[in-house]
């Protein structure tokens, strides 16, 4: 890496950002050429190379491709955070053009719903339900709207801007973790841990007091070096928005293993990086802006470890930083990380597909950490587009035993967040085909004068009933009794299934009880046409309840909303 940290130390923040853009552009082009070798121009697109590497390691026959409906639902959930409307489903299923899948991926990735969904995704991933803040949401949405490169995004979180209102909410990642809970002291180890987990894919918590007992790579030095960057931070109380202050860091952090009673010390140090030298500034000259007690202003130290962290951590060549985000985005679309747990990268826990990981890291870097580009490429792979059903004709399950998840021979079932589930329920039960086709924004306000719960009220309820407790990563499908009771009995949920203003039930009551009703029901909720069995079931049930048509329609709709097929991304 030619970008030595020293050259940034004196540089101001703005100039640093410019520098990085310029230097990455200069640096990366030849690098890309090198990696791709002499055939750079002829190299197949990334999604093909991914499929080749996955196939080479599959260890058995690959499953069949998803059908259009399966793909459609999946890609809507992954890029728009909701299921498609019945109209959108009909249009896509009827479309006979060959490139309609790629076209849909592009359209959704460029839609405002992508911004909303990715903001939710990053919010849930980074904050783990610790809390929320308007300025943080502004930061997320602004960043996603301009498709901000991941390195810049992380840089802005680690060394938050104060002046720019669109950016300063980034501080919430740190300030929320510096809050006190009851009489407990500030959970500084929690902040250190989360910076490591979220941005480097390492959970160094167990290395606070001694070298990690079963991960050789995680030394106490690893934890303490990271701690030295962060341990002197505090929440600024002189401003109304989330803002991080830094106390002076004038000496190394002293530590001692509980096993080996040897006095050790370290300055700020990032995993394998160089230890940052702490400058010895004469007394009275430590601050760029001196603290002002009258204004309760904490001052700005000349030496800012956070700034150094923001320079050293999110950048090309920091392999841990690069692998972490690539792995998390892979997990988002494929349902399994190349490294699992997502926050336990180390040399004894290598990726299931090392070459694939290297390829993704290099290409993501070559494309300037463009998340949307990577997600789009991943979605174009056959790996992503494989059916989650095992094709019976493939016939190899009996011989090979269970198909392992990490072979990617079959699409994996994935959890839906509370946000995705709400947006999907709202879409499925919602306003009406015509309206849905023209207005696909699930945030659209319900009709005036409606007595039903508003989307905001529903969001609170869904989050309470369906999300994990704080600090529990939402990475696996996690059905709970609480969620089941919520879906079965909550008044606001059941209210969505009463006929009103052209919503799903109102439409189902109006249209013919046979095939048309079944099609509307299944396309609206499961985004696919019904099978013969399902047609018969719907017709039979409606025929059994001729006097209670709205109720019967609600029963059929509820059963599909509570089904596994609706509640997971498959």
């Amino acid at each position: 890496m030619s970008l030595a940290p020293d050259c940034f130390r004196a540089a101001g923040r703005m100039s640093f950002r410019k520098q990085v853009r310029v230097s990455s552009a200069l640096l990366l082009m030849p690098l890309a050429g090198l990696l791709a070798g002499s055939t750079a121009a002829a190299a197949p697109p990334l999604h093909q190379r991914i499929d080749e590497l996955v196939a080479a390691q599959a260890g058995g026959a690959l499953g069949v491709a998803s059908d259009d409906a399966e793909f459609l639902r999946r890609v809507y959930l992954d890029f728009a955070g909701r299921i498609p409307s019945a109209a959108e489903a009909r249009a896509f299923l009827a479309d006979s053009s060959a490139d309609k899948r790629a076209h849909l991926i592009d359209r959704l990735a460029d839609s405002p719903e992508y911004v909303r969904h990715m903001s939710e995704f990053l919010h849930v991933m980074l904050m783990e339900r610790l809390g929320d803040d308007q300025s943080w949401q502004t930061f997320l949405q602004t960043s996603l709207a301009e498709n901000k490169p991941w390195d810049q995004f992380v840089r802005e979180i680690l060394y938050p801007e104060v002046e720019d209102e669109a950016l300063r909410g980034a501080a919430f990642f740190i300030t929320k973790r510096l809050e006190k809970y009851g009489q407990n002291p500030v959970d500084m180890p929690g902040l250190v841990r989360d910076v490591g987990r979220m941005f480097l894919g390492v959970d160094v918590q167990c290395a606070e007091c001694h070298d990690h007992l079963f991960v050789d790579d995680y030394k106490q030095q690893t934890y303490q070096g990271l701690f030295a960057f962060l341990g002197h931070t505090f929440i600024r109380r002189d401003v109304k928005f989330p803002a991080v202050g830094e106390n002076l860091l004038t000496q190394k952090v002293a530590f001692k293993s509980v096993f080996v009673m040897e006095d050790l010390a370290t300055g700020p140090k990032l995993l394998d990086g160089e230890e940052v030298e702490i400058p010895m500034l004469p007394k009275g000259e430590e601050y760029l802006v001196a603290p002002d007690k009258k204004k309760r202003s904490p001052g700005v130290p000349k030496f800012s470890p956070l700034r150094v962290l923001s320079e050293q951590l999110p950048r090309r060549g920091n392999r841990a930083f690069e692998k972490n985000i690539v792995n998390r985005l892979w997990w988002k679309l494929m349902g399994r990380g190349l490294v699992e747990p997502l926050d336990l990268h180390h040399s004894d826990n290598p990726p299931t597909h090392p070459q694939l990981m290297a390829l993704l890291v290099d290409e993501f870097g070559n494309h300037a950490f463009d998340m949307k580009w990577l997600l789009r490429e991943l979605a174009r792979t056959q790996t992503y587009q494989r059916s989650s059903r095992q094709s019976v004709s493939a016939g190899d399950a009996d011989q090979d035993g269970p198909v392992s998840a990490q072979s990617y021979r079959r699409g994996l079932e994935r959890p839906l967040s509370a946000e995705q589930l709400l947006a999907s329920v709202w879409q499925a039960t919602g306003p009406g085909t015509a309206a849905a086709a023209s207005n696909t924004d699930p945030q659209a306000a319900p009709e005036e004068g409606s007595t039903a719960a508003t989307l905001d009220e529903l969001r609170d309820k869904f989050t309470a009933a369906l999300s994990n407790p704080p600090r529990e990563p939402e990475i696996s499908i996690n059905p709970t009794v609480k969620a089941a009771l919520f879906l079965m009995n909550d008044a606001a949920v059941l209210q969505l299934l009463t006929p009103r203003d052209g919503n799903l039930i109102a439409r189902l009551v109006e249209i013919e009880a046979g095939e048309p009703a079944a099609h509307e029901l299944y396309l609206s909720i499961l985004s696919r046409p019904p099978t013969e069995d399902e047609l018969a079931e719907v017709a039979g049930y409606l025929a059994d309840h001729p006097e209670q048509r709205p109720e019967a329609c609600a029963d059929l709709a509820w059963a599909l909303l509570a089904s596994t097929e609706f509640c997971v991304n498959h």
Binding site: Q183, Q205, C206, C209, L213, F214, P341, L344, S388, R389, Q390, S391, V392, A397, D398, G401, P402, V403, R410, E413, N468, P469, E472, S476, I477, N478, P479, T480, V481, K482, A483, A484, L485, F486, M488, N489, D490, A491, L494, T531, D533, E534, E537, Y541, E551, D555, L556, W558, A559, L560, A562, S563, T564, E565, C567, V568, H570
Partner: protein, 428 residues
Amino acid sequence: MPGPLCKPWEHQLSRRHWLGTVGAGAVGALGCGGLLPPVLADEVNQSKRQVLFVWIDGGMSQLESWDPKPNTQFGGPFRAIDTSVPGIQVSELLPRTAQQMHHLAIIRSLCTQDNSHSAGVGRIQRGDPKNRGVTYPYFGSAVAKLMGPGASKLPPYVWIKPGSGGFKHQDAGFLGPRYGALAFGDGQPPENLVRPASLSADRARDRSLLRQRANERYLQGRPSSVTEANSYVFDVAQTLMDRKELFDESAFSRKDVERYGSHEFGRHMLLGRKMLEAGVRFVKVNSYGWDTHGDNFNGHASLMPKFDQAFAAIIEDLAASGMLEQVLVIAMSEFGRTPRINGHIGRDHWPEAWSLAMAGCNVRRGVVVGETNPQGTWVESEEYDIGHMFHTWFKALGIDPHHTEYDNGGQPLPIAHDDCGVIEELLS
């Protein structure tokens, strides 16, 4: 999990295995905090054993309960009385429980490590294992994990307590939130337990059948684990709804209410008995307000009769119905109280020498284990820490505490403190 093309009998096996190894709301294959030898889990799962865990929050005084020292320097004003077992005496504040002594075992030689509430409550209920950088599960979560919900399909770990209810995930520690407690705050049922009047029972049943059929169709060609997990939580929810009469205090028999007491603790203990009868694996019943730093003796004079009444009643009932053969009963606090009486006529926190009471399963009946010195200040016999108790309880439940481990994402973790062992003289 079997492959997607599994045969029906494999499906059965998988379901049984799954039910046996996970608690409420779990996905066995996908979950964190795994369990060990599945063989063991199957064996244990055959067990009908249950736990009644009576938690006396704040610290019951051993001198005013299980280990009276009348007429000594720190003995306080209360006398000791005879019990149904010749030679064993308890405080006169336990007159009814004294008559059940032939079912009970008292241990008087506890010596534990923490004298603060904030840390001690969790530390005791987690068994105070060696620090391995993880948060251990509370005893209830541990039992939920190791023994599963059993045949009742009710949640394996319920907690009846004053105050707020809800799903208390914190208890589960590294096992993951699904092994937390379902808390019935103020004895009330969980949110959304009652089917709204707008939905008839017939329609609710139809909905459930339609949902199950949709899931069966979805399963074609797919692995079963996710759908089974999903179905399981709906089953548990339905079972709870079907048993909502458990929460209906107006249906409690007048005689029962009189025997257990019409006070909060009595009502909660009675609800606890109903939960046990309904098949809940682990029932915790909570009493608060025992931190008698001031006016300890009036405090205990007012608190102990409620405990005595409800505890004696449930022991008597469990013994009469034969359930005591299967139900391990434990009554304890996070520590005892100081022998020294402070300036506010109170007793402070004292983990150095205290007592608890047990009954049921193969716990020996009518025995006292361990003794303190004549003034009650220190343990004179061998000291037992909470780790010894966890070993003993697991063994009583049929779980080998030395050969069973948790699997925390590859990290093997003993289920009880490695340096402690079973107190054999407590078990028959």
